[in-house]
Amino acid sequence: MSKQQNEVPYGTLDLLILKTLETLGTLHGYAIARRIEHVSGDDMQLSQGSVYPALIRLQQEGWIATDWGISETNRKVKFYSLTEAGRKQLRVEVAKWEKATALVTRFLRATS
């Protein structure tokens, strides 16, 4: 669906955002992007702007909630936080991811 070539592994941005919000609580978009960059170190090139299309979709699914607040530069900005449904979804996504990686790992070991 996305025409953009994410530098982030395909389909993982949602997971990263949900996990970030679970760990740090309520954050604005910039803080989410920074946190993902920070945690992944310099291994991953993230266009910071790409969190916004992901955020609107997660919001529409009802996994994150938004609230207006004031940024550190004194500007009105949206703050995002995980909802109960989001917490559940995160568990599902994590389980899925672990299953997938485990499978791939097993597969790579078997052939090597």
Binding site: S2, K3, Y30, A33, G49, P53, Q60, E61, K78
Partner: protein, 880 residues
């Protein structure tokens, strides 16, 4: 996709502007924060701004993705194309008006017809579990159904366990008085089961219980909602009212809720109370029986059970009786006969053809329009619009037109239905409620979409995938190759379809003319008819009734303006429902005959000639020798079965119904004369054998007056009323109709589809003419340059005209060939609707072909003469 996402996506479409603004402010805040952090890392403000931008990524690209993610991109495109489409409609109002008009005709005819088909054939009957309602009949011989007698009905009721309820009824009518204007009301006497079979809902009160049907029970009635409104002004205290019916006061015990029964002619119901005479007589068949099957019982099971009952009941009875059977028919089949179903199928087929023709027209118009837009499309393609976007846009434009056509079509359908309503009411069963309801509107929407697909797809593909580069090249005007071949093919198809419709309409018209000219065996001019029902309370005995007939005939005859008057039990041309049996000495098998009672004036009034012996005279009264007159058909039959070369003077026994009592007699009657057959069967069926018995020798209280007037029949009604009033002032005259009206009523069953299909044929001819004209005119416009060159090189205007006409007529000729093939293929369908006309009637086909050719000529002539007036210099200079 979850429901939540769909809802959120739709909401996002509506809140587009706000969401965009919110995103903008988020981006701004984001960049500020990033810049601040970068400055904190020691970058200069300028460098910091650049760094912030860089790590953010492409802003516009992200915004687009944001929009795609949150909503439905295809829907946004659709909405945009839709508004383009509306703009295109406004830009070309004339073109749009023609397209919408053509579609309105095609869709309107279809929607109107569908609403009738839906009401009559598709919707379930307006009763609870209607599939369980059946008619139950005696079938004396295969294919013939008959009413039943009271004891038989009671036996069925006792033995037929397959039915939850059985009800018997007979139609009656009664004079209502004491409520203002005296009126004659149709009604039914029914047994208590009636309202369980036909599950009626009540506005007030109750329906009948078995107690209401016991001898000596109080006189009670149930009213239809319409009767309560019309005759009692919707009086809320109706259950306390005691209206006078035929001189006796009746208590209203219930009023039905509004519904299907309001469309029926029955206004009131009365309990059927069997007399001891009726209970003792098995050989008088007078009850119509309906039943409600038990849940889960099939028609086949019911039939088997009823034939078992019949076998048990007729054990030891004469062979004739044992051969008979009991027939169970679903109510639906009784209401919608084969004839109605066939007419409706043919009419629906006709409107479908009209719709196809409209589609062809619209496709053609769109193609023609597209040809003039090639440049625009080529420019858009050159600017980077994908083919699929172009197809999508073109298709959406035709969709807009089709939806507008659909809306206009519903209006056309409403108009058609309003016009057809009086005729419709007579020709469809009362259970069918025709209205433009939700189902019909859904159908209209589906048709509009279907038309858009059918008529819009081809032009859209054609235009978007044609050689677009050529569109930019101005010199590509003129010959248009594949493009024009397709348009010609569409016109050919249109002409073919129209020919099928027009020839069908002409066939039906010829059939109608044949019916009009049908020899009915009677004189119908200046004849007016009416019915008289003698109240049995006042006319207790047959001689009293006979006295009335004699007086009535005498008074009428003497009335100024009346030439002749006669009385009979059934109107001329109307089917004689009273069937009886004749016992001929020495012949074992009974002869089945139709039984009609007439007075001495009847044959004279209708100009029916006596072929042998004599007619009925004033001397044929009670006490004199019993005589009868037979028709030619019966004379032929008697010659066959009994070898009577001359039937006059022969004595046979005929079963005769009694005066009021449900009993038959089997007197010996002498054949006094033979008359030329008057028509009593439907057109196309042979005359049945008929026995005419003097009314004075077999009186009955329900009688028809047939009066031949000297002037306009309607004008003599006051004199006729006065004559009857002089004998009995309390007798109302019912069912006043001229013989011409009676004739139309009895023959109209066959004529109705004719005018309907005639209307559709006219519409299709109009559409085909528009289509032909459009194509020819367009071709001429395209070839203006070529024509200009030809004329500059010395071609005369006659050459130009003949070239254009040849072009038009060649399309018509090919179309006619296909159309003829179509007409041949459809002969079987229309055959059943035709009366004495072959489905391949050469005259009808020839006229249809000539009509289409003429249309082709006219459609070609206008553009052709315009082409001939072209000034070569102008065209050659014209680069546009």
């Amino acid at each position: 996709m979850t429901v939540r996402r769909v809802v959120a996506g739709l909401a996002a479409l509506l809140r587009k502007r706000r969401l965009d603004a919110e995103l903008d402010s988020e981006i701004l805040a984001h960049l500020e924060l990033a810049q601040r952090d970068a400055v904190a890392r020691g970058l200069s403000p300028e460098e910091a701004r650049r760094a912030a931008r860089l790590s953010f990524g492409g802003i516009e690209k992200m915004k687009e993705e944001h929009r795609d993610r949150r909503g439905f991109p295809w829907m946004e495109t659709l909405l945009r194309d839709f508004s383009y489409g509306l703009a295109a409609v406004r830009r070309a109002p004339a073109f749009s008006a023609v397209v919408v008009g053509v579609l309105a005709l095609g869709i309107g005819a279809n929607v109107g017809m569908f609403s009738v088909v839906d009401a009559v054939l598709l919707k379930p009957l307006p009763f609870a579990a209607p599939e369980r309602i059946t008619g139950v009949w005696e079938a004396p011989r295969p294919g013939i159904v008959n009413a039943t007698s009271a004891p038989d009905f009671l036996d069925w009721q006792r033995l037929a366990t397959v039915f939850e309820t059985l009800s018997a009824e007979q139609s009656i009518s009664a004079d209502l008085s004491g409520t203002g204007e005296p009126a004659r009301l149709s009604g039914k006497e029914v047994t208590a089961g009636y309202f369980q079979v036909f599950t009626a809902h009540m506005q007030f009160g109750r329906t009948f219980t078995p107690d209401d049907g016991r001898p000596g029970a109080a006189a009670v009635i149930v009213l239809s909602h319409a009767a309560w409104q019309n005759y009692f002004a919707g009086d809320p205290d109706i259950l306390q009212r005691r209206p006078i019916l035929d001189g006796a006061s009746h208590l209203v015990i219930g009023v039905l809720a509004p519904g299907a029964f309001d469309r029926d002619e029955t206004r009131f119901w009365k309990p059927l109370i069997f007399t001891s005479d009726q209970l003792a007589t098995r050989n008088v068949h007078w009850l119509t029986v309906y039943g409600r099957l038990r849940d889960g019982v099939t028609i086949t099971q019911a039939r088997e059970r009823m034939s078992a009952i019949h076998t048990a009941m007729t054990e030891g009875a004469p062979k004739e009786d044992r051969e008979a059977a009991i027939d169970v028919e679903p109510l639906e089949r009784l209401l919608v006969g084969d004839g109605l179903q066939r007419s409706m199928t043919v009419a629906f087929g006709a409107v479908t053809l009209v719709l196809l023709i409209a589609c062809a027209n619209v496709a053609n118009l769109l193609l023609a329009k597209g040809a003039t837009r090639r440049r625009e499309l080529a420019v858009r393609a050159a600017l980077g619009a994908g083919r699929s976007r172009l197809v999508g846009q073109l298709f959406t434009e035709s969709l807009v037109l089709c939806l507008l056509g659909g809306i206009a079509g519903v209006a056309v359908a409403a108009l058609l239905l309003a016009l057809a309503r009086p005729v419709l009411a007579d020709s469809i069963p009362f259970t069918a409620a025709v209205s433009l309801d939700f189902r019909v509107l859904a159908f209209a929407g589906a048709v509009a979409l279907g038309v858009a697909l059918l008529a819009g797809t081809l032009p859209a593909l054609r235009m978007a995938f044609g050689n677009l580069a050529q569109g930019l090249n101005g010199s590509a005007r003129g010959s248009s190759g594949a493009h024009s071949r397709m348009r010609r093919a569409i016109v050919v198809g249109e002409v073919a379809l129209s020919l099928v419709l027009v020839s069908g309409a002409l066939l039906l018209l010829r059939s109608l003319l044949k019916l009009q000219g049908l020899d009915t065996g009677i004189r119908i001019d200046h004849v007016i008819t009416m019915s008289v029902d003698l109240p049995v309370g006042a006319y207790r005995t047959p001689p009293q009734a006979a006295l009335f007939y004699q007086a009535a005939a005498g008074r009428l005859q003497a009335a100024p303006g009346v030439a002749q008057a006669g009385l009979s039990t059934t109107l001329p041309l109307e089917w004689i429902s009273n069937g009886e049996a004749m016992q001929v000495p020495g012949v074992e098998k009974l002869v089945h005959i139709r039984f009609k009672r007439v007075d001495p004036g009847y044959f004279r009034t209708l100009g029916i000639p006596v072929l042998a012996g004599r007619g009925i005279t004033a001397a044929d009264i009670d006490g004199a020798t019993r005589v009868m007159v037979i028709n030619q058909a019966l004379a032929t039959r008697l010659a066959d079965v009994a070898g009577y070369r001359d039937p006059i003077g022969k004595k046979v026994r005929v079963s005769c119904p009694g005066y009021v009592e449900k009993r038959v007699f089997l007197p010996e009657i002498e054949i006094a004369g033979v008359i030329r057959s008057e028509r009593v069967a439907s057109p196309g069926y042979p005359d049945p054998p008929v026995v005419y018995v003097p009314l004075a020798q077999a009186p009955t209280p329900r009688i028809k007056l047939v009066v031949r007037t000297r002037t306009e029949p309607g004008a003599e009604m006051p004199a006729i009323r006065q004559a009857i009033r002089e004998i009995d002032a309390s007798l109302p005259l019912g069912d006043v109709a001229t013989m011409q009206q009676v004739r139309e009523r009895t023959l109209s069953g066959a004529s109705r589809p004719a005018w309907l299909i005639g209307v559709f044929a006219a519409i299709s001819v109009l559409l085909a003419a528009i289509g032909l004209y459009g194509v020819v005119a367009h071709v001429v416009t395209q070839q203006r340059r070529e024509i200009g060159i030809r004329m500059a090189l010395g071609a005369g205007s006659g050459d130009v005209v003949s070239r254009v006409l040849r072009n038009a007529l060649s399309m018509v000729a090919v179309g006619l060939a296909f159309g003829m093939a179509g007409a041949f293929a459809l002969t079987r369908v229309i055959k059943s609707l035709l009366f004495e006309v072959s489905p391949l009637d050469p005259a009808a086909l020839a006229i249809a072909c000539a009509t289409m050719t003429l249309i082709g000529l006219f459609a070609g002539l206008v553009p052709a003469s315009r082409a001939a007036r072209v000034d070569p210099v102008t065209t050659l200079r014209d680069e546009g």
